[in-house]
């Protein structure tokens, strides 16, 4: 076969002697497909959230083994982010060496929460302990903070209570009509015409007590398992989380589909 035979066939789908340096037979240019680059791009996009979900899922799968439920996160940053810190200012009163504090709906005896119905008004020092007064209830507590008895609408002169103070060494409560003074056993109340100086809670200054109450206000921290679950579920993305995960799911499905197609083509070409 001569050179002319090989070069003369211009209709052939390949040509010879494209270069003076080398004599290479080139296949015709094929249309460049985008499947592989798209596959790579989707792989990169999906990788981070998938790794995130897989790792957090792995941890959650063994939450009991890792004891995640027993670990509570009490970092101020996390508690604040979960909305588990009290709002507004704390008000407090020190009686018999114990502090009675009210902060955003929770009443504390020292650092222990007390079950008190209604809005706290004040606390009064009494001979055998103290009276913690809300607008609908009076709690009689001893020096250890144990509840001796609870006075509600059946035992109070009338509710709502508005103010409280000490009159002649006895508990005095003001309702809408007048001041009422309790007897020694807090059984009977008698109305008085005198005005009693009300005792009020005072703003609590910043300090160790305030910091301690801040972390106790919620009743505990956030369990680590709950925190990891929120990370896993993407709750940190808010309402956007569902759409983001939809996107990741679609990317992953597309990734699988393009992977199968690319593998099929590769096999077909040998």
């Amino acid at each position: 076969m001569s050179d002319s035979d090989t070069t003369s066939g211009s209709a052939a789908s390949f040509q010879v002697g494209c270069s003076v340096v080398c004599d290479v037979v080139r296949k015709p240019k094929r249309k460049k497909r985008k499947s592989r680059s798209l596959h790579r791009l989707l792989g990169m996009i999906s990788a981070l959230p998938l790794v995130w979900v897989l790792l957090t899922g792995l941890v959650l799968n063994h939450s009991e083994d890792f004891g995640l439920d027993s670990v509570e996160l009490e970092s101020p940053l996390i508690l604040s982010a979960y909305g588990m810190t009290p709002a507004g200012g704390a008000e407090s009163l020190v009686l018999h060496g114990h502090s009675i504090t009210s902060w955003d709906g929770v009443v504390f005896f020292d650092q222990r929460p007390l079950d008190l119905e209604g809005e706290i008004i004040t606390a009064l020092p009494m001979g055998d302990g103290m009276a913690i007064v809300s607008d609908s209830t009076v709690l009689r507590v001893d020096f250890e903070g144990s509840v001796i008895e609870k006075l509600d609408e059946l035992s109070l002169p009338s509710i709502p209570l508005l103010e409280a103070g000490i009159f002649d060494g006895k508990m005095a409560l003001r309702s809408s009509d007048s001041w009422h003074v309790a007897d020694a056993d807090w059984i009977e109340f008698s109305a008085i015409s005198e005005t009693v100086t009300p005792i009020r809670l005072q703003p609590l200054e910043d300090g160790d007590l305030k910091e301690a109450l801040r972390s106790r206000w919620s009743g505990g921290g956030v369990s680590l398992s709950r925190f990891v679950l929120d990370l896993h579920a993407g709750n940190f993305l808010g309402s956007f989380a569902a759409y983001f995960y939809d996107f990741v799911v679609l990317c992953t499905l597309w990734l699988i589909a393009t992977g199968i197609i690319l593998q099929y083509r590769t096999n077909r070409r040998g």
Partner: protein, 183 residues
């Protein structure tokens, strides 16, 4: 700055939502579940039975009585003194016991060592409100104390197990305290 705000907003949103569930389900859950419903004011309950509210009386729990209440309730009673009202041979007790997480305020009338009425006055739990219904509370009428439990069987309610248990305990407490104050 744009990056910062767009990042922080969803983070806050997440923690806000998470906080809602944590607060609602776990501890603090009390805010959501505390849908207090007053079925009858204690003063109305008392007036209905006595015409007017009788003189308030107080029992200060002795060591033995506290132990007995503990064995009935499974824990110490919330207060050291308990108020009650007595007239016309009847004693009225307004007692509280937690169902699941909130106290159930219950009015109990005891006459001749037997319960003549038990009524849930204030119910605060989010579930188990069926115990407030007369078809359930009527079961207590005529019950007396057999040791530290009621002598009559009280049928439970599916989904209100803890509230049913709490009311049974309160009924036993009222009967026991009536025995003690009647001595």
């Amino acid at each position: 700055m744009i990056f910062k705000s767009s990042f922080i907003t969803p983070v806050r949103s997440f923690f806000g939502r998470a906080a809602f569930f944590v607060l609602a389900i776990t501890f603090l859950g009390s805010f959501v579940s505390a849908a207090e419903k007053v079925y009858e004011k204690p003063s109305t309950f008392m007036t209905r039975h006595f015409g007017a509210i009788p003189q308030t009386q107080v029992i200060t729990l002795s060591g033995t009585q506290s132990k007995q209440l503990k064995s009935i309730l499974g824990h110490k009673y919330a207060t050291k003194k308990i108020r009650y009202w007595q007239a016309n041979g009847k004693a009225a007790w307004i007692l509280e016991e937690k169902g699941k997480s909130e106290p159930i305020t219950t009015g109990i009338i005891v006459k001749d060592g037997k319960i003549s009425e038990l009524k849930v006055l204030v119910y605060r739990e989010s579930h188990g409100w069926e115990v407030t219904r007369p078809f359930f509370t009527k079961q207590f009428v005529g019950s007396s104390l057999d040791g530290k439990v009621l002598n009559k069987k009280v049928d439970g309610i599916v989904g209100a197990t803890l509230s049913v248990r709490a009311l049974k305990k309160l009924a036993a407490v009222a009967l026991y305290l009536s025995q003690e104050t009647g001595k």
